[in-house]
Amino acid sequence: MKNAFSSLSIAGLVLGGGMFAGLPDGARAMEFERDAWSLRLDLIAALQGAYFEVDDGPGTESDTDGVFDFTARATGEYAFENGWVAGVRVEYDSDFDEESDVGGGTDFDFVRDEVYGYLATPWALVEIGEQDGPADRLSYHAPTLGLGQIRGNFSRYAGSSALLSPFDTQDSPKLVVTSAPWRGLRAGVSYGADYKENQDEPNPRRRTIQENPIEIGVQYQRAVGDIVLGVSGAYVTADADPITEREDISSWSAGGEARWNNWRVGAAYVDRGDSNGRLGRDESEVNYGVAWDNRKWGVAASGATIDRSSRSRQLAAIGGFYRPHRRVFLRSDLVYSDVDFDDGRQEDSIVFVTEIEFRL
């Protein structure tokens, strides 16, 4: 068990959960609106538990684990008289990020996740700050209900997740300009500061420093009969600092999605290439999935095939959520991962992860 998964956390969660669940279902306790101003606060606490088995050939190991997560998010907006909207969004949460924790650790940190300001006009959305770029935002791919399924929380315990969209610069600082839809077509571009990870790592080869990152995303969406169809394309490029001995980022994806009567089917092809890798990664991914979601509950199945120079990986997941109260979510995922190495070794893992989440 992680040290953060303490009795104090559980006590706090139970106490907080009881308080949240006691609120009327339709209450909007944390939304404040006055004249042209609005402020929305979200406090999210979640208790997660997992059972996982890893079979790496010589033997099978199984274990249980758990994590307490907390997210605090604030969104403030001002609506101008001409209809333009300016806003600021700040999000802090408990962080689990394999790539940012030295040695691939799973430490509990409470860190800034996203901080950005935006201006929405009838023609374009301009955002500046630390947030995802258009390659992530505009890409269609396998739907991921529950706990993220193939790109979900299972990777906290065993295996690693799918990309779904191009390898990108995550929440590094950037300026993003995204057009309003024009007959269903949207396009976005971003340019940002250097994308850096693991800067405390003494070995520069374990750091990530990608300079001049540019992300481009294009999305087209329209209703055809009763079906809402969407296709997307995205590309990310950046120049690696030679000190890291990593490759430049050059990654793209193409995806599509169909929505009909609470059903969603999505798939994407992702070419990561050698992006941010060493020794020729040459990675590509196909992800696909189907989901049904009526906002009260939902189920989904998704899968991915990921090929890289020295191994191939299969991910298969089923999962879902149930919302017994507007402020309470129950989520579960079951994820199977099968890695086949070129030298004949094989590593299988299966992870069952479940969570109860309270929102205020």
Binding site: R34, E81, G83, L125, T178, P181, G184, R186, A223, D226
Partner: protein, 226 residues
């Protein structure tokens, strides 16, 4: 002696007034065109989902409508635009539209993007808040549409509602406008987030004295039976 014929002449003020009137007429024509709906008091449209739209007053191009329960709201005679003022038990609202009426006359391919800025007042506390809606509308190719009230040649007006903050498409509505009826005969709505589509269609129209509550109720009862 030669008589001088007086030529008709106008005083400058009269000329200016005439020019102003002509300007207003042409401005009106260019904005709304000739096929703009022409509503009269008591025009009533009953839809197969139980929706009732009844004209209770016409004030220039502002139309005061009443719904099935008698609650009133005001809308320009562009039926696809959001309502301009409304009132419920707890709030009252007013809305300004920027650039919404440039779709008239209805020609295929014509499009408009507009923003609706609402001021909503809570009656009890007097607190005000401002909300913003973003719309993109476009005229589609004419279609023949069959509804319970009959078959009509229509001009579809497709409008997408966008998120005020992210500009993503939230939903799309299509109004099928039948010039013969002078109003829309079908509305179709698709939620882009869920993929759920719904629609309702015209069941009957009433006008003048025929548009009385007993007759409206009878039509609604017959719809319930169906």
């Amino acid at each position: 002696m030669t008589s001088k014929r007086r030529t008709p002449s106008m005083k400058p003020a009269q000329a200016m007034g005439l020019a102003l009137a002509a300007g207003l007429y042409f401005a009106w024509s260019s904005v709304y065109g000739s096929d703009v709906p022409d509503y009269a008091v008591n025009d009533t449209f009953v839809y197969d989902n139980g929706r009732v739209e009844r004209v209770v007053a016409v004030e220039d191009e502002d139309i005061v409508w009443a719904n099935r329960s008698g609650r009133q709201y005001v809308r320009k005679n562009s039926f696809f635009t959001p309502i301009l003022s409304w009132e419920s038990r707890s709030i009252e609202g007013e809305r300004r539209l920027r650039g919404a009426y440039a779709l008239w006359p209805l020609e295929t391919g014509r499009s408009v993007q507009f923003t609706a800025i609402s001021s909503i007042t809570e009656k009890e506390s007097g607190k005000k808040r401002r909300s913003v809606q973003r719309w993109q509308c476009r005229i589609e190719k004419p279609q023949t549409v069959s509804v319970p009230a009959g078959e009509f040649e229509t001009t579809p007006i497709k409008c997408a509602s966008l998120s005020r903050s992210t500009l993503r498409i939230l939903s799309e509505r299509t109004w099928y406008y039948a010039p013969d009826v002078g109003h829309y005969v079908k509305q179709r709505r698709t939620n882009f987030l869920t993929g759920v589509t719904s629609e309702f269609a015209l069941a009957a129209t009433l006008e003048g004295r025929m548009a009385n509550s007993a007759r409206i109720k009878a039509i609604l009862n017959s719809l319930d039976k169906d």
